[in-house]
């Protein structure tokens, strides 16, 4: 055995026999490190300024019981458009059947109007269409929407798949719009993909981060 490389005969280095004040660069895989995070970043969509869709076609499986999407500054091509979500249940289309509820609170910058209520036109009853999750986003340069969406246990083949979304938009009419969406994807087939798009026009700005929740 060449000097300079210690082989199998050295079974243990005693504590304090190693200069731990040095710098160690690991090129292998280090396991067992305590990791404080309950969040693991799986992928990020960053708009290139002209995206028809934001698609998460992989990374959603049985690894995590919960997946968290974080939306930052989603900006539409056209004024007062809604960012919507569809779910893929094994095929190539994002058309899994959903039943959902939707309510929102709004308040305008002029302080002339407020409301809180259910929006019957924005829910889905056993439909395959995309569900609005960030609504009425303005297309002024400084207007956008942000929020979160949680998808629970998408790989289950026993239960329907629940999701919950909360968002904050600044609308084209200069309203603060706070919207709450929840529902379930009514299938016992695993959900393995999620797609976001506007009801019209492109996604022209913003990011969507997908996290696995440990």
């Amino acid at each position: 055995m060449a000097f300079g490389e210690v082989g199998t005969s050295l079974s243990k280095i005693k504590a304090n026999s190693l200069n731990l004040a040095g710098t160690f660069g690991f090129s292998g895989t280090v396991t067992g490190l305590a990791d404080e995070t309950p969040l693991v970043l799986l992928s990020t969509f960053t708009s290139d300024g002209s995206d028809a869709t934001a698609t998460f076609a992989s990374g959603i499986d049985s690894t995590y019981k919960e997946y968290l999407f974080v939306f930052n500054n989603i900006h539409p091509q056209n004024d007062e458009k809604d960012l919507q979500v569809g779910f893929r249940d094994g095929g190539s289309d994002y058309d899994a059947v959903k039943t959902t509820s939707y309510f929102e609170a709004i308040h305008d910058e002029a302080d002339s109007s407020t409301s809180l209520g259910y929006q019957t036109g924005l829910d889905i009853a056993q439909g395959t269409g995309f569900q609005t999750i960030l609504r009425f986003i303005g297309d002024d340069n400084d207007q956008s929407a942000s929020g979160i969406m949680r998808l629970y246990n998408p790989s289950s083949t026993t239960f329907v798949k629940h999701f919950v979304a909360v968002g904050s938009s600044v609308t084209g009419g200069d309203y603060a719009n706070n919207h709450f969406i929840a529902g379930y994807i009514n299938t016992t087939t695993a959900i393995n993909g999620v797609q976001f798009k506007f009801n019209s026009g492109e996604i022209q700005g913003g990011t969507i981060d997908l996290f696995g929740v440990v």
Partner: protein, 213 residues
């Protein structure tokens, strides 16, 4: 001659090793980072200022999450409020527009409520209510969370949203579920945030600031 390489598995990695140097090359999956805990102690304000007291509130993270644990107020029937700063905490008063609503249910089952409440702000610079009418009984407090999106961005307005569970000031008290969301209507970077009661001190409780990469 220096010992240049230890073969794999020649290390007993079941022991404890305290590295005082720098470890590089370890890929961490960590994406949620605790930045700062502030514990109230009869505090008139609790402030997180970028660059002060180990606080980071800049483009290091895209998303910030504040968690509130057992916020207890000095004075009965006061609101927990917040504002932000674009000048490093020299002043707190960024123009904002928001919504407020709550659900509530009294302990004796005599009252329930669900509706919009007029603590909202329209292009104002006042402190924004994030929990309403907190009680100061010994066992009363409020807990919740507040999301702040991309505060360092200089293109868009800055969105936030919050939800709190509180024990209100009445006797018997109500369980309140308080929701707010809105935006600071500025394209300047937000670099500080301050929390305070509408009157009196925050006697106790913790506000934890997390960054999400």
């Amino acid at each position: 001659m220096a010992l240049s390489k230890l073969a794999a598995n020649s290390f007993d990695l079941t022991d404890n090793y305290a590295l005082t140097g720098t470890v590089t090359g370890v890929v961490s999956t960590q994406k949620l980072f605790l930045i700062k805990n502030l514990d109230a102690s009869s505090s008139s304000t609790l402030s997180f200022v970028d660059g002060a007291s180990s606080v980071v509130l800049d483009n290091t993270y895209k998303t910030y999450l504040f968690k509130f644990i057992n916020i207890h107020c000095e004075t009965n029937d006061k609101h927990l409020t917040f504002q932000t700063s674009t000048n490093g905490g020299s002043s707190y008063g960024v123009t904002l527009t928001n919504t407020n609503f709550r659900s509530a249910h009294k302990e004796d089952d005599s009252f329930t409520f669900f509706g919009y409440v007029d603590n909202d702000v329209a292009q104002g610079t006042s402190f924004a209510v994030i929990n309403e009418g907190l009680g100061n009984a010994n066992d009363a407090s409020a807990s919740g969370e507040l999301w702040l999106f991309n505060p360092s961005n200089t293109t868009f307005v800055k969105h936030y949203m919050s939800q709190f569970s509180g024990m209100n000031f009445q006797s018997p008290p109500q369980a309140t579920n308080y929701f707010t969301a809105g935006y600071f209507n500025t394209t300047s970077a937000i670099d500080a945030i301050q929390f305070k009661m509408s009157s009196g001190n925050i006697d106790s409780g913790r506000i934890a600031l997390y960054g999400i990469k």
